[in-house]
């Protein structure tokens, strides 16, 4: 749920002295002060360095995100602060410590380009709430790049290359040895056990909700009845969507926002990307899906029966689980009156879209099976 669009950077400039301070001004002043104290306590502001350009990003539903720079003489370093939101005001509840453990492990392992993790305020004693600070990756996401040109002028061969680049990035996750991941990470004993556990989680989400949701029980049974061929378990990013992949000027791909990372079926990441393309304006993976599948198979050694567009329909539904179970938990809190946060209540508006998307995807999957059977 990273927010990276340059034009979305909401630079909340501190107003001139004497001007009436807005809530945004106060927040920026407060954060600048906290960051200065935090970094000074870690000897990161030597040589007269100063914290500058603090601005909050708007555009995601998960963490509170800030950009800032540390400037000293003629050197400027840029950072991203990812902070827990106030309790029960987010759709996704994740753990900064776990994210930090993943980031540091992946950095040490070295296979995947990630933003370097720099500091953590584990309990939020200094920054206000638990937070991590990372290097700011110099890149733009595919949504920004897509919008750079009109539909008529868009160079589709470049986007085919980017689709291939994304497939290579996702394929690289499967090369991260599981033993290099933090010890605290759950490692399912087998693919079957993992899938069965995911199906049970779908049922648990439904069971914990305030009213019966027939579609969720249908999906749990559908996932169980239509499991694809197994593949080796691997690192899964868990929120692979356009906002979370930055492409630099050399066309290198950087994955950010590792808060939902886990060990699971690697096809989940492609499935979730395809789910998000159903509601965003840059569907370049869907446009070149055969090429993406071909590249991903070449990168991972999976067979065509293990990874093809129809199998990815399965994972377009299956991979929604991580995001969805947090969403339902928050909506339950809203229903129970434990929160009245707008962005939590707003989930009620998003749910029909998710339900409809799952149904269309399942219909497409079943149609493909019927066609195969008819041959």
């Amino acid at each position: 749920m990273t927010e990276t669009l340059e034009h979305l950077e909401q630079l909340e400039q501190v107003g001139p002295e004497g001007a009436e301070a807005t809530e945004g001004d106060r927040a920026v002043r407060d954060m600048t002060g906290r960051l200065t104290g935090f970094l000074a306590a870690r000897d990161a502001l030597g040589g007269g360095a100063q914290v500058r350009g603090v601005r909050r990003l708007i555009g995601g539903y998960s963490r509170e995100m800030w950009y800032f720079d540390v400037m000293r003489a003629d050197v400027t370093e840029s950072f991203v602060l990812r902070m827990d939101p106030p309790e029960l005001t987010t759709m996704l509840v994740t753990d900064r410590l776990q994210e930090w453990a993943f980031l540091t492990a992946l950095q040490a392992e070295g296979t995947i380009r990630i933003p370097g993790p720099r500091w953590i305020d584990e309990r939020g004693a200094e920054l206000g709430r638990p937070a991590i600070i990372m290097d700011r990756v110099p890149g733009r996401n595919s949504l920004e790049l897509w919008r750079d040109v009109s539909d008529e002028d868009r160079d589709l061969s470049l986007w085919e290359d980017r689709a291939v680049g994304l497939a290579k990035l996702l394929g690289s996750y499967t090369r991260v040895p599981l033993e290099s991941l933090p010890a605290s990470v759950s490692r399912p004993a087998s693919w079957s056990e993992y899938m069965a556990n995911c199906e049970a989680r779908w049922r648990a989400v439904e069971s914990a909700y305030a009213e019966p949701v027939p579609l969720l029980r249908y999906i749990a049974g559908w996932l169980e009845a239509n499991r694809p061929e197994p593949v080796p378990l691997s690192l899964v990013h868990g929120d692979m969507q356009p906002n979370n992949v930055l492409i630099d000027t050399e066309e290198n791909f950087h994955a950010v926002d590792w808060e939902m990372t886990h060990v699971g079926d690697p096809r989940e990441d492609l499935g979730w990307w395809l789910f998000t393309e159903l509601s965003n304006p840059a569907p370049f993976v869907s446009l070149f899906l055969d090429r993406v599948c071909e590249t991903y198979r070449a990168e991972t050694g999976l067979t065509e029966s293990q990874l093809n567009p129809d199998v990815l329909k399965y994972f377009t539904v299956a991979a929604s689980l991580g995001c969805f179970e947090d969403i339902m938990e928050q909506l339950t809190a809203f229903t129970d009156g434990r929160t009245q946060a707008t962005n939590v209540g707003y989930v009620a508006v998003a749910l029909p879209f998710m339900h409809s998307t799952w149904m269309r995807t399942i219909a497409g999957f079943m149609s493909a099976i019927d066609q195969e059977a008819a041959r």
Binding site: L5, L8, E12, L143, P212, P214, P242, N280, V349, H355
Partner: protein, 157 residues
């Protein structure tokens, strides 16, 4: 009681005024997103105010009729039969929201149990469940119109 203007008209009026007069003058982007979300919620509430009770009763009737047919044909697994019987015994005491919601929850449970058994190889049951789910999600979609994820960067100009 006075029924005009209707609940949905009142809600839509609030939504329209907020959109026209408050949204343009907000300078804090976080508040702007929050208000956009509130407006989406109000729009949904307006549609629900007009239709929700009728939709719940209609869906419950459709579920009861379809599952009764499935039960008569021997297609409905035992857990579904139990839930269907509970639904058949239910009648909303009145048309207040909680009474209708309780009745609808019984219908939802019956459909959910049928959905659990829909992948056991009985294509007729699967098709019936699917059709009922389509009706349900169709009503859900009617409450939101064209969904745009408010505040998400992909949907901002």
């Amino acid at each position: 009681m006075i029924t005009t203007p209707s609940t949905s008209q009142l809600v839509r009026a609030v939504s329209s005024e907020l959109r026209a007069k408050v949204l343009p003058v907000l300078t804090d982007p976080a508040l702007n997103v929050e208000l956009e979300m509130m407006l989406s919620m109000l729009d949904m509430a307006a549609v629900r105010a007009d239709h929700e009770t009728a939709w719940m009763l209609q869906e419950a009737d459709d579920i009861e009729a379809a599952l009764s047919d499935a039960a008569a044909a021997g297609s409905l697994p035992e857990p579904g039969l139990d839930a269907l019987r509970a639904l058949q015994r239910s009648q909303p005491a009145d048309l207040t929201y909680p009474a209708v919601q309780r009745h609808y929850a019984l219908a939802s449970e019956a459909l959910a149990r049928a959905a659990e058994g829909a992948h056991g190889g009985d294509d007729r049951l699967r098709s019936l469940v699917w059709s009922l789910l389509e009706g349900r999600v169709g009503h859900e979609l009617a409450t939101i119109g064209a969904y745009v994820a408010v505040g998400r960067s992909e949907n901002q100009a």
